[in-house]
Subunit: 242 residues, 2 copies
């Protein structure tokens, strides 16, 4: 059984304001919930269709799960977890910075890429989509439990920046022949508008993934695709440690 | 004004069966509709909030657009286009093959990647998501108008295959050091299950994108991320022409 107030809380957690107020977020599906548990995120409550091996959960019916699920086909398990404390931003050789990413699936995929390529933190402009949005958590496939997203005013962040700042666009120098320095900031912009104009002065070099289409009309790649390709290239060039 | 029968047709086009029956698909949003028009796809009908410069369209209200739109925030334009004739599968040096891709956003992103990296066709198993699914069209950002998706029984496709067949998984040889042959087939599998077991015997080599996370729990990348990284690597190694 699930109470009305529990349903109401879960519905509210789709809103950033309510997540901040309660310090809780929703993780759904076997894999994502499992990752949050493995990473020792504090469980507020688990709802499941069947009893679980290692955790206490509240058993609910498929019909009840349908009421609280964000999926078309409701999953067998949905968990409410405490948002882990963020801690201070670490000083690292390479910073990955996102400016105004709006699509939750893109941010989730980027968080998953960070996790795979060993970037433990991500810096996002304050107007980027919230990393605890249910669809971000879902697309991250649980990687949100390991990657820390710091939301910052990017103009302040760039003040006193001494490292090279590489901006990605469709009209920069070719990534193929590009040699990254040892320490740098790599900046990616909004899905349709790219990087904010007020950050242009911060950029030391613009880089692009080369296009091999013969048609001029093909004008951009998905931002998460560009992030993946850049991370592959960075790690492939022996920037193994951050 | 939009009639009830028009609304009913548009709703029906969310189903593959109806798309096949009518030979129509839905494209939504300025960018996607524009690409379909530029590529000279036959327009069945355009619905827009304001009159268009170069095309005839049926003017409808925001409320009517809300009824037919697949977006949360309805766009200014929605078009019904004829599904272009597929033609014969071209014989090319490199074939990109997808086995059981289910997520429309993944297929759309992969089609966009094909377009960017100059792969004009894509081979999909018959049980992959339909490339004219509204969400695929959307995620392809119009690239569906240029990339041809051939749906095939993959076991038949692989019969008489003389090229090397590379399968992607999380446990193959490192992509970093891998040298692609001049002609080959590159196979990607389902989001959670990977490549079908009955295709294993076709695979000459398994390849993987190297992981740099120190944690063992990170177990996979998004399939579209892997496709993007592989295509970058292929083109970067001077396989310029297909």
């Amino acid at each position: 059984m699930i109470s009305k107030s529990q349903i109401s809380l879960i519905k509210k957690l789709c809103l950033k304001k309510q997540r901040r107020k309660t310090n809780l977020f929703i993780a759904e599906g076997q894999k994502v919930v499992q990752e949050c548990i493995s990473e020792k995120l504090k469980i507020h409550r688990l709802y499941s269709l069947e009893s679980l091996d290692k955790c206490d959960s509240q058993l609910i019916s498929t019909q009840e799960m349908r009421k609280i699920s964000n999926f078309k086909t409701p999953s067998e398990i949905l968990g409410l977890f405490e948002i882990p404390s963020l801690g201070k931003m670490k000083i690292q050789k390479i910073d990955i910075v996102l400016d105004r990413i709006q699509d939750p699936a893109n941010l989730g995929t980027i968080i998953r890429l960070c996790d795979w390529f060993g970037f433990q933190q991500l810096i996002c402009s304050e107007d980027s989509v919230d990393c605890y949005h249910p669809k971000v958590v879902q697309a991250s496939m649980g990687s949100i439990s390991r990657v820390r997203c710091h939301y910052r005013n990017l103009q302040n962040y760039f003040q006193n920046q001494t490292r090279a700042v590489y901006g990605t666009s469709s009209q920069g120098v070719s990534l193929n022949d590009f040699a990254f320095e040892e320490a740098f900031v790599l900046l990616f912009g909004n899905e349709s508008k790219g990087i904010s104009k007020n950050l242009y002065t911060e950029i030391s070099k613009w880089i692009s993934v080369d296009k091999y289409s013969k048609k001029n009309t093909v004008d951009s790649l998905n931002v998460a695709s560009v992030v993946g390709i850049c991370m592959y290239k960075i790690r492939n060039e022996n920037h193994y440690y951050n």
